[in-house]
């Protein structure tokens, strides 16, 4: 018998995201369970990234971006009155499609930049925290000897794992991954996917991907978006083997995409 569904960490209620007057996602209601990996799939332009950016209040930073509906983090609406988006982003971290290490900083300083979000750490405590983040991102062994060299000297895959270490440093509860392996080679992609498996014990992960095989490999649950609407969501194994809706099946079998 399947274990009971984990309790939702994030829930959206009738979430609609717009650019000026144009809706990018419409009326999305979904529950994202704790300590699991949820994949968001769908063809280009279906609103996957926009949805993700609503969860940590990044959408409103785009020109003309605004939102209606609710996003509940542990029951509290992140768009509620008096909520500071900066604090939301501390609890909900994000890794982007292209690795973005801070170029003027070393590897150590990049991770430390993530740690400083929560307050001052220095000396030994700082070094230990940096090491811990790098270990969690499976990067420690690669860089332990060159922590104070420039971060941009790393390979693409390593830079992306550095970004993950940096995103994990402030101890978020949720990690949003926006097509994190899109610019990586297969070896780098594999490392990141392994990371997702390791990390879900501590974090709730939401990953946007246009790669269906990756979604099948990595996630516990999958949500299919199309033209800004949530079409279907369910356990990954169920969605891929016996999708409930014809549209879902058409996308998964490659009839459109």
């Amino acid at each position: 018998m399947a274990p009971p569904e984990p309790l939702p960490h994030i829930t959206t209620q009738r979430l609609t995201a717009l650019y000026h007057r144009q809706a990018a996602i419409k009326d999305v209601t979904i529950a994202l369970p704790r300590h699991s990996v949820t994949a968001i799939i769908g063809p280009s332009g279906c609103g996957k990234s926009t949805f993700l950016r609503c969860l940590n209040r990044m959408h409103e930073l785009s020109d003309g971006g605004w939102v209606t509906g609710k996003v509940l983090l542990d029951g509290q609406d992140v768009y509620g009155g008096g909520v500071d988006p900066v604090r939301v982003r501390r609890r909900v971290g994000m890794v982007f499609q292209r690795p973005t290490p801070f170029p003027t900083m070393s590897i150590h300083e990049n991770v430390a930049a993530g740690l400083r979000v929560n307050g001052k750490l220095s000396g030994r405590a700082l070094n230990e925290a940096v090491e811990q983040s790098l270990r969690r991102a499976a990067l420690w062994n690669d860089v332990r000897d060159r922590l104070h060299t420039s971060a941009v000297a790393l390979s693409g895959g390593q830079q992306q794992r550095l970004c993950m270490a940096r995103a994990l440093a402030p101890e978020p509860e949720v990690l949003l991954l926006d097509e994190p392996t899109a610019s990586l080679d297969p070896a780098g992609t594999q490392r990141i996917e392994e990371l997702c498996h390791e990390l879900k014990a501590r974090y709730t992960i939401v990953i946007v991907t246009h790669n269906l095989q990756q979604a099948a490999r990595v996630s516990d649950r999958t949500a299919f978006f199309y033209l800004g609407e949530l079409i279907e969501v369910g356990r990954t194994s169920d969605l891929f083997t016996k999708p409930a809706l014809e549209q879902t099946e058409a996308y998964i079998t490659g009839r459109f995409g």
């Binding site: 309790l7 542990d74 909520v83 500071d84 604090r87 501390r90 609890r91 501590r202």
Partner: protein, 341 residues
């Protein structure tokens, strides 16, 4: 046990994970409520600093206008076309210096534009890569030389050179024209124009270069693909596309020439005279202010000089604004006029 509907600041209770392993110890949850005062303070401080600029400009124009008022009220529009400048009789007319400013700048443009365009075209279209950097550096260096050093060189090197090697052949061939009438003693409109030309070449060259670089490669390639020679490609495809921008670059050079003070006042002769001969001494607005400001003993004298400053200011602002508009059309974005070069 759930913490789902809890309020802010509540510590999250331990929830068993899906595999039954105990999760890590609960960390205190950051409450979502909060105000961001630091952001406001940052924006306000930056805005305050930025407002210093418009404030400064308003005060500058205000002071100029206020100080120029006595002269404006006394002389009105006649100030612009009266040639008399008599501190004793307290009659001031700026026509000679306005004429001199325009004449010296025009002469400077005449000499500088071919040179500057030559530099720009050569560097962007024809120069082999190894030549580009050093030549570009040398041209930049021209812009870095202080005005007073140009003036020093003008007095002791350029003027003797003009006197011995340039004016005699000029007079021999073109001496019958009114432009080369009279005896050449050194300090002259010609010297002023030449030194200005040397000074503005780097500015016109740099901006023209940016304009030419902004011309899409497809223009050039299309012409070459049709069988044009390299020069023909430049002349027929690249230059016409960048024409507005190059005119803007020339106007920027004009703007610089209009406001140049030290080098000009050291070689132009500083005489209130309108003359068409470039061999005669002349005056510019900037040179007049530099020369006579400390001599101005009466209020009206000072006020007249302030009026000259105001006119100079307005003219250069208008020329620069037009120039930037033209260049912006072709080579958008670059912060022009802000660099030393």
């Amino acid at each position: 046990m759930l913490s789902g509907a809890g309020g802010p600041g509540e510590v999250r209770l331990a929830v068993p994970g899906p595999t039954g392993t105990p999760p890590p110890a609960a960390a205190p949850v950051i409450p979502l409520q909060g105000r961001n005062r630091a952001d406001r303070a940052y924006q306000i401080s930056l805005t305050a600093l930025a407002l210093a600029l418009p404030l400064l400009l308003v005060v500058l124009v205000g002071e100029l206008a206020t100080n120029a008022r006595p002269a404006i009220e006394r002389f009105g529009w006649r100030f612009l076309w009266t040639s008399v400048w008599d501190p004793v009789a307290e009659v001031y007319g700026a026509a000679p210096m306005i004429f001199g400013t325009l004449a010296s700048s025009l002469l400077a443009l005449l000499l500088a534009v071919p040179l500057a365009l030559g530099v720009a075209i050569f560097l962007t279209e024809f120069a082999p890569r190894w030549v580009r950097q050093p030549v570009a550096f040398l041209v930049e260096l021209l812009a870095a030389i202080p005005s007073v050093v140009y003036g020093l060189w003008g007095i002791f090197v350029l003027i003797p050179f003009l006197r011995s090697a340039v004016v005699p052949p000029l007079k021999a061939t073109l001496g019958w024209t009114p432009f080369l009438e009279g005896v050449f003693y050194g300090n002259s409109l010609l010297a002023g124009g030449v030194i200005l030309a040397i000074m503005i070449v780097p500015y016109i060259a740099a901006v023209s270069r940016e304009v030419l670089l902004a011309v899409p490669a497809s223009q050039r390639e299309a012409a070459l693909g049709l069988g044009a020679t390299r020069w023909e490609a430049v002349w027929t495809a690249v230059l016409p596309y960048g024409r507005a921008g190059i005119i803007g670059a020339i106007m920027l050079g004009l703007g610089r020439a209009l406001g140049e003070t030290m080098a000009v006042t050291m070689v132009i002769g500083n005489r209130h005279d309108i003359g068409i001969s470039v061999l005669q001494p002349a005056y510019t607005m900037a040179a007049a202010i530099a020369n006579e400001f400390s001599e101005a003993t009466t209020n009206l004298y000072l006020s007249a000089l302030f009026e000259v400053g105001l006119i100079l200011f307005v003219v250069t602002v208008v020329v620069n604004a037009l120039a930037r508009l033209l260049v912006w059309r072709v080579a958008r974005g670059a912060a022009l006029g802000s660099r030393a070069l």
